[in-house]
Amino acid sequence: MSTQQGAPLIAARDLTKTYGRTGAALRGACVELAAGEILAVTGASGSGKSTLLHCLAGIVTPDEGAVVYGQRRLDQLSEADRTLLRRTDFGVVFQFGQLIPELTALDNAALPLLLAGTSRGQARERADAWLERFGVRGQAELRPGEMSGGQAQRVALARALVTEPKAVFADEPTGALDSLAGEQVMTALVHTAREAGTAVLLVTHDAQTAAYADREVELRDGTVLEVAEAPDLAETAQPTEAPQVTEAGHEG
């Protein structure tokens, strides 16, 4: 609510990050995420996608540059303040859901609310509604070990969205899934994020997953390349017409 019209929800400017001896992971990366926007970040392995996501989500602080969230400099907040902010304003999902193995799906999804001080009864009630939206209410009493990868990812998404955050950071959320399970996870994520007005930063190396986003940026060697708007696509194909798929061999 604090963002004015046009101002980005989160902006990263000239981020650099170097880990020990491995060389620079980010070299002057700039990116903006608008409120309610679904932005895909693609790029080769090692190009810095996860590092960029971690910086934007306040999990890692960049060596140089700024991460601006609303009026605040995320990169200058204390560890404790960042943790608090992450709890209330952000949700995260990784390739392997990272659910707590001892807890049921429902308790996993309710956890962020409990940490934020919501009563147990209320937390479970709200978590239940989010499991329902992600189509995994039937798994509410199962533990992560008893669920398929796709179900576990949807529980992880419910957990990421349960606090109704301003932004969700998803790092390869479909990376461990086959294409149908990946499609279910992405459809659920995109629909619920749009409904709730939540912005999503989606890191993926898969073009079909990236295609769920409104926009895409590509990382190369730690810098962000804006993916050019498609040149006069309207002239090359009508929106409802697929490119003609020609038969492999020759006639007759």
Partner: protein, 182 residues
């Protein structure tokens, strides 16, 4: 694509008029180019000539007279045979993108104003934009199965093109080197 077999398949679900077949084809393949009625008509003539379909009768219902066709037993066998026959997995690469990249590299090294890297960048952007459009069509909760299937098909093919373009963009320096100094 074998329009002949697709029409034979539609006929196999029940006798039909040419116009009906066109309509049913366009509904089943919503992302494909709509069939021209002329093409339906000539295809039906050929199916009849080859004994795969036959005229069942004519209907008028007040309007112009329309010929009703049905599949023959031989047509049913031909259809089953076609459905079970694998398509040759791309024995020839005849893609326009591939041709452009090869020609662009060849001519660019000869000094012509061609920029394969820029072309690849723009073509990739166009592919990605198209993939976003198709994904939006597919992710619409009201999308019917025919729409989802055809969007999937197009998406997987565009994705394959995209991977090839990404790999090729990475190989451009080596390719150019090889053409300049064979």
């Amino acid at each position: 694509m074998s329009t002949r077999h697709v029409l034979l398949g539609l006929l196999a679900t029940g006798p039909s008029h040419g116009y009906d077949l066109k309509r049913r084809h366009d509904a089943r393949f919503p992302q494909a180019r709509p069939l021209a009625y002329g093409q339906v008509y000539t295809t039906l003539q050929r199916l009849v000539r080859d004994g795969l379909a036959e005229v069942e009768g004519t209907d008028a219902d007040g309007g112009p007279e329309r010929t009703r066709y049905r599949a023959t037993d031989e047509g049913a066998r031909e259809l089953a045979d076609w459905l079970g026959r694998i398509a040759p997995p791309a024995p020839f690469v005849t893609n326009e993108i591939f041709a452009k990249v090869v020609v662009a590299i060849l001519t660019a090294t000869a000094g012509a104003p061609a920029d394969p890297a820029a072309y690849l960048r723009d073509q990739r952007a166009a592919h990605k934009a198209r993939m976003r459009e198709l994904t939006a069509v597919k992710a619409n909760p009201d999308a019917d199965l025919a729409t989802v299937l055809s969007a999937d098909y197009a998406l997987h093919h565009l994705d394959a093109d995209l991977r090839w373009m990404t790999t090729t963009a990475g190989r451009l320096p080596a390719l150019t080197q090889e053409i300049q100094h064979p």
